[in-house]
Structure formats: C-alpha cells, structure tokens
Symmetry: C2
Subunit: 363 residues, 2 copies
C-alpha cells in the first residue's frame, strides 16, 4: 500500500488481534449472524487487517456491513443454495448473505471439487461484499492448491473512452504456496485505484494520482487531485488510466471478472440490475493434479527469492513480490497489535455502546 | 490497436485471405511440419491477421518461426505427450513444438474435459510461441464455452522498483460467446505495451508513450520516446507503468500467468531456465454446467450492447468492448483483403523464392 494511505503514527491506536476478533464477532452476532458464522466473518476481517490490507479490514468495511444488516439489504441467516452443479463446478445463490462469511464456504467447496477432478470453480450471485478476496484465495494455498478469486460489484468504473460508469472496481486475487518463502498473494482491483482506497484517502487526507479518476464527463484527470468528497462527482478509471497507458486492459480484466463471477452465475452485472448484489468466483487448482507438490513449492521459492533479490532501480530500497509486505506486516501486527485510526476506535466505542457489548480492548 | 501502429496506407499491399493461408501453410510444410499441422498453423496466423492483430499475425511472427525451425530450436514434428492428467486437468510436454499449432489441440482437450466435469485446464511447457492467444480462447467460445488462455515467455519486464527484467510480457486472453453481438474477446499483455508492438513501431516509426519502457537501470521513461533499436537497451514496464499508476498490478498479473502456465506445468519461469521454452495454459468453462447457454448469450448481448452504447467522453467517437473492433476488422479484411506492409511482402517474395513455392498472391 502506498505510504500516503497508511494511518499516520500520531492517529494510530494499536489493538490486539484477539480483542479485535472478539469484538467483531460480537458485533456480527448482534446483527443476527449465527455464532459460528460470526466467528468466521471476524476471522476473515481480522486476518485482512493483520495483513495490513486496511482497505478491506474492519476499519473501512465493518460499519458498512452493520448499516446493510440494519437496512435489511444483508441477510444475517441466508438460506444459500447450490442452483447448478457438476463435478468441477457449482453455482451458489447467496440469498443476500455476506460473502465475507460465504466466501470461505465457497472456496472450500471448490477445494473439494479440485481434490476429485483436479480443478474446481464455484460462482456466487445475490451476495454481499466479499471482504479482501485474497483471504479466500489463501485458503486454497493453505491446502496445497492455487486459489483464484474474483469479485464483480457496484458500478464505478468507466470503460475506456466512456463518459459513464459501467463496471465495478472488480478485483482479482491469486494465492500460491511456497516452501520457505512467504506465499505468493496477489489481490488487486482492476481499476487504477481500489474504491475503498478513497475512503482511506479521505480519512488521512491523501491526494489522488493522475490517471486514477475522471471528471463527471469521463475525462481522465491527469494531474494530482484532492480526493473527492462524494460519489457521483467522479468515476474510476480502469487500470492503466488512459488508452495510451493501457486502460483497455484494465477494462478487459474487469469484464473478465464479470464473465467468471456474474455471467457464469447466470445473472447480469450490477449496471443492468442494481439490486442483484455482488458476484464472486472461487477457483482451486489442485497442485498434485499437475505436478509434485513439494517440487512446486521449491520452484516457487526459487522464483520468489529471485524476485525479492532483484537489484532495485535508483531511488528504491528493494523489490517486493505480491504477498511479501503483507506477510511482514502480519508478523509485526501479531506481535505489536493492529494500528487502527483513532476515528475508527471512536466508531467501535459508539457501536459497542449501542449494541451493549464490551468495548474494543486497545494496547 | 493505437493508430500509430497501423500500416500507413501508402505502405499497404492487400492480400486475399486464401492466398495468405496457402502460402503460410506451404512455408510451414517446407519447415518439415506435417500437412495437417501446417494447415492448422496457417489458419491460426491468418485468423489473427484477419482480426487485425498484426503484432501476432504473419507479418511479425512467421519469419521468427522460420528462423527457429531453421536453427532447430523449434521441432516441426514434436512428439508431444501428456505428463500428468486428471478428469479436469492435463499437463503437456510440447517437445519444442510451436504452440501456434499445439494450442488448438490443448484447448480442444480442455473443452473435452469441460464437457465432462464442467471445467478443464491444460497446461503446456517446453513449447514454442503461441501466436495470438485470443485465437485459442475463441475456440472455446465457438463451442459455447468461456475460454481463458495465458502465456509466459521470454524475460523482458522488470518487477515494480526493479532494475533487471524477471518476467515475460505474459498475456492473458478470454473469449465468451454472445447471441447477436460480436463475441467478447480480450487478449492483452500484462506489460504496459506488448513486446511485439515494438517490432511494429520500428516498422512504422512510431514513438513509445511515457510509462511503457525503462532505461537500462530500471528507471521508468516518463516522456515520449523513440522506439529503441535493439533489445537490452531498454526493459518493459508492467501494465500501470509506475507504482503510483498500478504497475504492481501488472507485475502481479504477470506472475499469475507464470503460476498457471509455468509452475502448474511443473517447470520454472524463463528467468530461471533460458532453454525452457514458452509455457501456456488453456482453460475451458462449459457454460451449460453453470447456466442455460441461450440465457447466457442473451445476457452477454445486453451487456455488450450497453458497453458499446456508452456515451463517449469528450474527444472520443465511441466506446468499444474487447473484440468489437477485431470483429469489424475481420469483416473488412475478409471482403477487401489483409493489408500487409510492403516490407513484409518483400520478405514473402524472398522466402517463397528460397523455398521454391509459389509466391504470395496480392490483390
């Protein structure tokens, strides 16, 4: 994550992992979510914060979920069901359940299919937000598989040359295990900047880079720009920003996630049905079906080591690979707590009061 | 394709499709490729030129293949074999065969698997170039499936912040059928600009955009720049160009193609084994396993129509979707011939003379 999005040291309050997990679980339960599902949801969000993916952890997302449970747009006890199934595939109607909680269930289903036929893909429609999809992809990596997760959701991104948004920021995540190196974990929006980054940016007063967002007529803003206060006063640009820089590629990748998650769920994208909820896809590739697992991991080690030992270009300290800084962050945060913005701590204090649950314990 | 890469009208010589197909097939046969494979390879390359994907059609690639057959780095009669297989997966050792020809065979294998278990993925190592991978993805779309193809190859792209190249320009392609609209066909390098675009750029004297390539120390060149004459005097940047613009996403996507094609083939990327050849993956998703095929196509129609009817931003005529301009190009080129650069016609004239085959018929 770019430095500008991080919580400034003077605004940080550190919170121990177990405390965050407990409080988030208690909040889910107060929303009507069954205990086991509440614990699962708390685990997904806390793990995401542990990895330093603050855009998709508790600070940015939990209050949205609480609002959606309260409004009834999220169903705390979804009667989710498989609408079509084959040995390698399944489609899930999520019944407005939160995909933060249903995502691990779908990925586990894909993993079981991959155990049997080598690869499994489960698509999901009529769902709530998925949280940080890298977490669901990691569930496959922990089972000696490669995990691939995509999400398609709300309409924020203009197609290349377009004046109106048609697509979501539609992220793609992949995780793959290594032997001694931290696992490969890629998780990124197919827009130039993730939608949730704007929430973080507002909180820490960070600027937008050229090529991230548009004016309301679709014209790319190609200079540094203050973060817009309200939705509707800007749209997102696809990864690449402009056609010259490859925005047609970000646009195509966004459509790829719609095809995998949305059309292969049998539904249409949000731009054609605003009440259709989010759509996700969860794929597991069973490494053992392709090659020897140990050998795969050793080869991954060689590559990941080579990547992080790449000599840096002038002005840079080192080269990372996807998942490396998240792993390092996790070690630090497990030991020293998760740094939340003081404004987020205030929100926890308020919501815990409202819901009559013990308040979040800080360090 | 950006206008600057197109063959200038005054340098164009139009060639009929069937003539190109015949001559390319004859050249493959003279390289020792069996007649049926030669026809298949000619079909892939000609179809790619028909779609206007000149980077990967005959003009840019055929002379490279001829060179590789002559040097013995490509095997005209590969004894390719499946090294591991499960109901949904297979791994192919290509025995140095050209993936232009083996790609359709691998995709057909994936399609058969998808018919049985809903999804099929075939990975391939020790292979030659794949040509335009969109073509192989389209084979699935023509069978009422979604096709996904990835390729990982030669080392040209720096990781974000890196001073040395570690990855290929590693493209991703997806195709999906529609009912009345031209099919969705996405095919793009995960680098800011495709490697083959530099070949075109040299021929038509086009400049590089800011954020496409680096200096030799890895520093991104952020101004317009003449196309470098020789490899090694520049490296490619990942899609996004700079970290601020999202180059870590292009980098991660490039690694994704290495994981799918390379590590799931049981081998290492080219940076760790320069003689390992190219690595590919071919996935077919059987739409009928997920939803009703007709319904899928109608929903695709609605979305594709909505995308192309998006009001354009100021300064633009219209909004495209991936595959639309390729479809339009194909209609034109089937009727009016394929415009090749006069320099490419000269090459054909020379090679046909050398190989004692009838020369390419122009219009």
């Amino acid at each position: 994550m770019l430095e500008r999005f991080k919580v400034p040291a003077e605004d940080q309050v550190r919170v121990p992992e177990d405390s965050l997990r407990e409080t988030v679980g208690a909040i889910f339960e107060k929303m009507g979510v069954p205990a086991e599902d509440a614990a699962l949801g708390a685990d997904v969000l806390t793990s995401t914060d542990l990895r330093g993916v603050e855009t998709h952890g508790v600070s940015n997302m939990l209050r949205t979920y609480v609002g959606q449970y309260n409004q009834g747009t999220l169903n705390p006890r979804p009667n989710w069901r498989v609408t079509r199934e084959s040995p390698g595939t399944a489609v899930i109607d999520a019944d407005k359940g939160l995909a933060v909680i249903l995502g691990p269930k779908a990925m586990n289903m894909a993993i079981e299919k991959a155990r049997t036929v080598g690869v499994g893909i489960v698509t999901m429609f009529n769902a709530g937000h998925s949280g940080g999809i890298g977490h669901h992809a990691m569930l496959a990596a922990q089972q000696d598989m490669v995990g691939l997760v995509t999400t398609a959701a709300s309409v924020q991104v203009v197609p290349t040359f377009g004046a109106e948004p048609r697509l979501g920021t539609n992220p793609i995540a992949m995780a793959a295990p290594a032997k001694n190196e931290p696992p490969f974990l890629f998780d990124a929006a197919t827009s130039a900047v993730a939608g949730n980054k704007l929430g973080l940016a507002r909180r820490v007063n960070a600027n937008m880079e050229p090529g991230w967002i548009t004016q309301t007529d679709g014209t790319p803003i190609m200079e540094e720009w203050p973060v817009p206060e309200t939705r509707g006063t800007y749209f997102h640009l696809p990864l690449g920003g402009t056609r010259e820089m490859g925005s047609h590629k970000g646009y195509g990748l966004a459509m790829m996630t719609e095809i995998l998650g949305t059309f292969l769920s049998g539904v249409v994208p949000t731009v054609l049905d605003m009440n259709g909820g989010s759509k996700h896809s969860f794929t597991a590739y069973n490494i053992a079906a392709f090659t020897d697992v140990d050998d795969f991991k050793e080869k991954m080690d060689r590559m990941l080591q080579m990547l992080r030992e790449t000599p840096p270009a002038p002005g840079h300290d080192r080269v990372l690979y996807p998942g490396l800084s998240e792993y390092e962050e996790e070690q630090d945060r497990r030991a020293n707590g998760i740094p939340l913005h003081k404004e987020v701590i205030e929100w926890f204090s308020d919501i815990c009061g409202e819901l009559s649950i013990p308040t979040l314990r800080t360090m």
